[in-house]
Every structure is written in structure tokens, then in C-alpha cells.
């Protein structure tokens, strides 16, 4: 079978509804022999403000940055994205979504998915009589 490129496809999910309005965090996606890695920038977001769910290979990340009770003083410039963020990716079947590992550190969310067993290259031993 030819090696078709299986790339995570962005989509708005069906029953995991996106919020009315949201901003989209910048995300890098790359693949290694081990599996797939997604790295999203979530400045100001702490673990309590983030939710990552996977359902049938649909990966959804949503939440909001922690904000101060009231903004300090007079606002002169506002370039930060605010409010809720949301992003959904349909992951190709090559990856075992149930084994996803998520780490949030200093505003960077790293999601790692290993390749599912059947997709890993397996060396076949050739026995000779």
C-alpha cells in the first residue's frame, strides 16, 4: 500500500461544541519515529484553565488564560488574545489517541501521541533451516 500522508486535520467538532467566540492558539505539529507531537502556545494559561479531551481520535483543547480580578490601571495597549481559546484536530488512525501525554509548562502545552502498535515498523526475523 502506498504511504499516504496522514496529517492531523483541523476541524470544528460535532458534539464537543466550540464556544461562541474564541481565539486559536498557535500550534506546531511534527512527527518522529516515535509518534506525533503537538506544541501549542498558551500564554497565561495554567493547568486549571486548560482542558484537553480526546474522543475517537478527535483531539480538543480548550480553556482560558488566568486573568487578574480587575485590570490594573488604564489600558494603553492590548495585543494579547483574551477570552476563551479552542482548537480541535482530527488525528489520523495511525496514532493511539488513548496513550496521549499532555504537559503544560510555562505557557507551552506539549501533547505526545505514540504511533499505534500496528503502524510501527516491525522487523521480521527470517529463520533459515
Amino acid at each position: 500500500m502506498a504511504n499516504t500522508i496522514n496529517v492531523p486535520v483541523e476541524r470544528e467538532s460535532g458534539h464537543l461544541e466550540p464556544p461562541e467566540s474564541y481565539f486559536v492558539p498557535a500550534t506546531d505539529i511534527y512527527e518522529t519515529d516515535e509518534g506525533l507531537t503537538l506544541v501549542a502556545e498558551l500564554p497565561g494559561v495554567k493547568a486549571g484553565g486548560l482542558e484537553v479531551t480526546v474522543e475517537e481520535n478527535l483531539l480538543v483543547m480548550r480553556g482560558r488564560p488566568q486573568s487578574e480580578a480587575k485590570p490594573d490601571g488604564e489600558v494603553l495597549l492590548q495585543e494579547f488574545a483574551s477570552g476563551e481559546f479552542y482548537r480541535a484536530f482530527q488525528l489520523p488512525a495511525d496514532y493511539d489517541a488513548s496513550k496521549i501525554q499532555a504537559t503544560l509548562k510555562e505557557g507551552v502545552l506539549t501533547l505526545k501521541l505514540p504511533k499505534s502498535e500496528r503502524m510501527r515498523p516491525r522487523r521480521i526475523e527470517v529463520k533459515s533451516d
Binding site: A26, I29, Y30, T32, V39, G73, V75, E106, V108
Partner: protein, 150 residues
């Protein structure tokens, strides 16, 4: 840029000046966020700036940027933030499907609304956001002026 109405007569000098000013503004914006010449300027992180009676607060989005790769300097009422987001290169043979994050060096210069005290600037990084507190110099602090009624 608004169209300059044609009045059918010779264009008054004032209209020509405003055209030139508009072109200067347009070009000025290309250069304002980076000190590199046009073409090399790449990106700079978003800023939030607010002002209270005694300080100017500047926040910078810095996820993936190490404190050691940041340089903050203040001169009078000008704040310069320089830094670099380095690529994480621990994994070999990465095949990218999507690259949206911005990498590389940046310089952002900001004229502050008041003169600040560079010796008491406080900067701390939290969850990928750098918070810089620049206290105003005494004479720059807002002072309420009492109004005497005659």
C-alpha cells in the same frame, strides 16, 4: 489612505504635505516594531500595556522563551525588550506537518507614557507571560491639583 478631493484647481500646498505625511506614517510603521531593516524584521510578541498613578505595567507573551534569552532595558521613557525564541531541538528527524509558532530573535521598543525609575523595575515570568512593573519617577507621578474657589 483617503482620496484627496480634486477641486479642479492647483492643489494647495497643505494637501501635498499631508500626502507626504501619510506616506511617511505608512513607511514608519514598517520600521517601528523592529530595528532591523525592512525585509529582515520578522516577528515580535504581543504586548499589553497599562498605567496606574505610580507605575507603568507591561506584559509580554513569552511562551517557549527562556528568561536567559530575554534582555530588558530602560532609558528615560523608552523601554526596549530584546529576546529570542529558540527552537527545541531534542528530537532528531522531525517531520513538520504544521508550523505556526514564531521563532528567532525580536526587538520591541516602546515609548512609555511617563519617565520611569530604571533602578526599581521589576520583571517576573509566570505561565509564559512576562510582567514588567516600571515605577514612575516621583516627578512623573500624577498629582491631583486642588482647585480653590473664589
Amino acid at each position: 489612505m483617503a482620496l484627496i478631493p480634486w477641486t479642479g484647481r492647483t492643489m494647495p500646498a497643505a494637501t501635498l504635505t499631508s500626502l507626504r505625511e501619510e506616506m511617511n506614517n505608512l513607511l514608519g510603521r514598517f520600521w517601528s516594531t523592529a530595528s532591523e531593516p525592512f525585509g529582515l524584521a520578522e516577528w515580535s510578541p504581543p504586548l499589553d500595556v497599562s498605567e496606574t498613578d505610580d507605575a507603568v505595567l507591561v506584559k509580554v507573551e513569552i511562551p517557549g522563551i527562556d528568561a536567559k534569552d530575554l534582555d530588558i532595558s530602560v532609558a528615560g521613557d523608552v523601554l526596549t525588550i530584546r529576546g529570542e525564541r529558540k527552537e527545541e531541538v531534542h528530537e532528531k528527524g522531525r517531520n513538520f506537518h504544521r508550523v505556526e509558532r514564531r521563532y528567532g530573535a525580536f526587538t520591541r521598543t516602546l515609548t512609555l507614557p511617563a519617565v520611569v525609575d530604571p533602578d526599581h523595575v521589576d520583571a517576573k515570568a509566570r505561565a509564559g507571560v512576562l510582567e514588567i512593573r516600571l515605577p514612575k519617577k516621583e516627578e512623573a507621578k500624577a498629582r491631583r491639583v486642588p482647585i480653590k474657589a473664589e
